[in-house]
Amino acid sequence: MTQVTFVILGIAAVLFMYRLCAGPSLADRVVALNGVVLVGMAGIATHAAHTGVGAFLPTLVAIALVGPISNGMIARYIEGRQP
């Protein structure tokens, strides 16, 4: 069942990557990048639950902190740049 979970997460990552490459505006790419970060978080958590090794879980906390902060910074950049 863990393999099925990883396959589903991989398909989701491919779809987010498509939107990251093809998004018309910068906000679309930021949304897709947010999704890629979420898929990475889910992959780390699933791997830790599958193997029982919790060595990467502090990385999970760091990504959960840094991802939304980077989104906010890019939003400030989009809002403040001259068109």
Partner: protein, 106 residues
């Protein structure tokens, strides 16, 4: 077993939000699909991991990551949607911006 089922359900929700991000045709609709569905999906995945893990340090790390994501993701989504709404010309719907906002945007 129940942790794997929870992780699978969360992965299916993340896949649904990815399909929404690909298929919707507006920045705000894509952000709507991503923010709600994948927040619930990542919470389910982290809950499944917390059920499966045994060490107390690992469980607190997972719970801390879930709480941080739950509190930090909605303001970030709000900031991105605000920036997209103020700066871009949206393809669908009526423009409800005030003249001040339109001058600030474009």
């Amino acid at each position: 077993m129940i942790g794997e089922i929870l992780a699978l359900a969360g992965a299916v929700l993340v896949l649904l939000s990815a399909i929404g991000v690909v298929r919707f045709d507006d920045v705000l609709a894509r952000l709507h699909a991503l923010a709600k569905a994948s927040t619930l999906g990542i919470l389910l995945v982290l809950l499944g991991a917390a059920v499966n893990l045994h060490d107390l340090n690992d469980i607190t790390s997972v719970v801390l990551a879930a709480v941080l994501h739950l509190f930090a993701s909605p303001p970030a989504s709000n900031m991105i949607s605000r920036a997209a709404y103020l700066t871009s010309d949206l393809s669908s719907g009526t423009d409800e911006r005030t003249p001040d906002q339109q001058r600030a945007g474009s």
